[in-house]
């Protein structure tokens, strides 16, 4: 499903070069529930961004679903992001002037699904997340947990192969965090691969496999 070998990534700021990823080798199979852990600066977010084709890498090989993700045109990248990957962010990244239903429906807009149909599908996903009653509300009128549910619904709507979550519980209280993790677990059961970046131990404990990063290399990638 996900195949990384010898991935290198450096950030150049002025004269300084910061080597963030120093040769990552990683295989994640279809249907896994994986967490990536590491202290800040360990490169875990960078790794996730590369997995999500939001960022490029300097060296190595990245295969997603048997397709090489190297030197993609922005158009191709957008296509893969839309069809294969769902994102869940720490800060939700909902579009503030669209209501919950419209936010969830947005990925389908880029697939050319008509408004009526995509809004109907969006409502179904909101229903699955248990927040159908909030469909007409703007993000600013919702709590953090509700916003994250909207974001998860949005990540799921294109029926992706993998969901990438960057500190999905970072802005939530512990009770809501647990609820969100339960949701992830449920989604994972339907066969979608989940990769969660976190630095919270009790979050990673709820995944099947923990990948520990330290200073840009994988220190440990065993199953729980």
């Amino acid at each position: 499903m996900i195949h990384l070998s010898n991935i290198h990534k450096s950030y150049v700021t002025g004269a300084n070069k910061l080597h963030v990823l120093k040769g990552i080798d990683l295989i994640i199979e279809q249907g896994e529930l994986v967490s990536i852990m590491g202290s800040s600066g360990s490169g875990k977010s960078t790794l996730l961004n590369i997995l999500g084709i939001l960022d490029d890498y300097d060296n190595g090989l990245y295969k997603l679903h048997n397709t090489e993700m190297n030197n993609l045109s922005e158009k191709k990248a957008a296509y893969y992001r839309n069809n294969m990957i769902g994102f869940v962010f720490q800060s939700f990244n909902l579009i503030s002037f669209k209501n919950a239903m419209e936010n969830v429906a947005l990925p389908l807009y880029y697939q050319g699904v008509n408004r009526k149909k995509r809004n109907k599908i969006a409502l179904e996903y909101l229903d699955r997340m248990g927040i159908k009653d909030w469909a007409e509300h703007l993000p600013s009128e919702m709590s953090g947990g509700q916003k994250q549910r909207v974001a998860i619904a949005r990540a799921l709507i294109t029926n992706p192969k993998v969901i990438l979550a960057d500190e999905p519980t970072g802005a939530l209280d512990s009770q809501t965090s647990l609820e969100v993790m339960d949701l992830f677990r449920e989604i994972n059961k339907s066969g979608i691969t989940m990769i969660i970046v976190t630095h919270e131990k009790d979050i990673s404990e709820r995944t099947d496999r923990v990948i520990r990063l330290r200073d840009g290399i994988i220190e440990n990638g065993q199953y729980n």
Binding site: D56, Y79, F87, N93, I95, Y109
Partner: protein, 420 residues
């Protein structure tokens, strides 16, 4: 094909960002609005000034006698002389380029002393002796009756054509002045026509106090003999009046034994030269309007592009989110351009309509108040110019949106997502 869905998306986005939508729209609206108002006002000024000239024949000149300044053929300098009926015949015979020739004389009175009487009413008016040709050189509008004709000239008829103001002074309001008699300097004249001026303001007022009678009649009544006061003449179409002017002066000099190099003996006024000067002036004003107009338009465009820059900056994160969800760069750029074009066209059209509406309103106000001012009349705008201005603005709107949009998609999605 119209993509209803896309338009719903655009309208939704604009509706949900009311403040920035309003300010962008206002910049465009103001640019077009100001351009329309300025073009209209310029045209109004021009119309008013040219209206002051009425339908005056522009390819015309005037000639009158002064004192000679060069001794010639035994005559001393400083001699007075007068044009006469013989000159009139000679001019017509010898100048084929001549179109209309109008010898003129002015009767006494009109400068304060009452010279016209009807029953108990009297008035002081300017009295001219004219040929029918005068009405072609400086036309008036006959409101009733007729102008002087050739038979009037031939038979020295005692008829007059009087201005509107003359009627107001000498007649009751409910009276028809036609075929009535008025007494001018002791002689009775029949009124055959009433006119009003084609000019406006003071010029019109002055003109409407004139009384025209046949040239030959005036010559006899006022004892002018064969004398002609002055000449007005026009050249054939497409021939400059300067040629006629030069030829006429030559002929008149020969006939009155005036030295060929004596430029002071015959006074003259060339309308076509003055008219050219005036046209030059308005070309200048028009040029100025365009400079200012383009400046205003440019300011509008810069305003739009500034606002677009701010909008794109503000939307970098939104664009980042959209791209993470699978929006292609083309789709993002297209969406922004669509929004900007939609906005500029709507706002520009409103500016166009409001501008035209205001111009029409001013026009209506001027007309209904009867105040066809000497400085402002019938403001109007060339619709084609206005629409091309709008098109320029929309195209500029595209570029104003395109540049920042391109920059927004050129940065990596992750950087866009991180920006706040």
């Amino acid at each position: 094909m119209i993509d209803i869905d896309k338009w719903k998306e655009i309208i939704n986005t604009l509706k949900q960002n009311k403040v920035r939508t309003f300010f962008t729209a206002f910049g465009v609206f103001w640019g077009i609005f100001m351009l329309i108002i300025m073009l209209g006002s310029g045209k109004g000024l021009k119309n008013a000034v040219f209206q002051n000239m009425g339908d005056f024949a522009t390819n015309s000149c005037f000639m009158w006698t002064q004192q000679t300044s060069v001794p010639y053929k035994g005559f001393p300098r400083g001699r007075f002389f007068r044009f006469n009926n013989g000159d009139t015949e000679a001019l017509i015979e010898k100048i084929p380029e001549l179109k209309d020739l109008s010898p003129r004389l002015q009767g006494w009175g009109g400068d304060g002393a009452n010279n016209a009487v009807r029953n108990e009413k009297t008035g002081a008016f300017t009295i001219f002796g004219d040929y029918p040709a005068w009405n072609k050189i400086d036309p008036i509008k006959m409101t009733s009756g007729r102008y002087i004709n050739d038979l009037d000239i031939k038979n020295n008829r005692k008829v007059v054509v009087i201005g509107k103001r003359v009627v107001e002074v000498l007649f009751e309001t409910d009276e028809n002045p036609l075929d009535q008699y008025i007494k001018i300097n002791g002689v009775y004249f029949k009124v055959v026509g009433v006119f009003k001026s084609k000019k406006n303001g003071q010029q019109a007022e002055r003109e409407e106090q004139n009384i025209h009678m046949p040239f030959t009649t005036l010559q006899k009544i006022y004892n002018f003999g064969e004398d002609v006061g002055w000449y007005a003449m026009t050249a054939q179409d497409n021939i400059p009046v300067d040629i006629v002017e030069t030829k006429a002066k030559e002929i008149l000099k020969t006939r009155h034994s005036i030295a060929p190099e004596d430029d002071r003996a015959i006074g003259g006024f060339n309308v076509s030269k003055e008219f050219k000067k005036m046209r030059g002036l308005f070309a200048g004003i028009n040029g100025l309007i365009w400079i200012v107009g383009i400046g205003t338009l440019l300011a509008g465009v810069i305003g739009v592009s500034n606002i677009m820059l701010v909008i794109i900056k503000e939307r970098t994160k939104e664009i980042g989110i959209q791209r993470a969800l699978g929006a292609t760069p083309f789709k993002v750029i297209w969406q922004i351009i669509n929004e900007s074009v939609f906005l500029t066209s709507i706002a520009g059209s409103i500016g166009l309509v409001v501008g035209f509406w205001l111009i029409e309103l001013i026009n209506y106000g001027l007309e209904s108040s009867g105040g066809s001012s000497e400085m402002f009349k019938n403001p109007e705008v060339d619709f084609k110019i206005a629409v091309s201005a709008l098109i320029i603005l929309i195209i500029s709107g595209i570029f104003a949106g395109l540049i920042p949009a391109k920059r927004a998609v050129s940065i990596k999605p992750i950087d866009a997502l991180r920006s706040e």
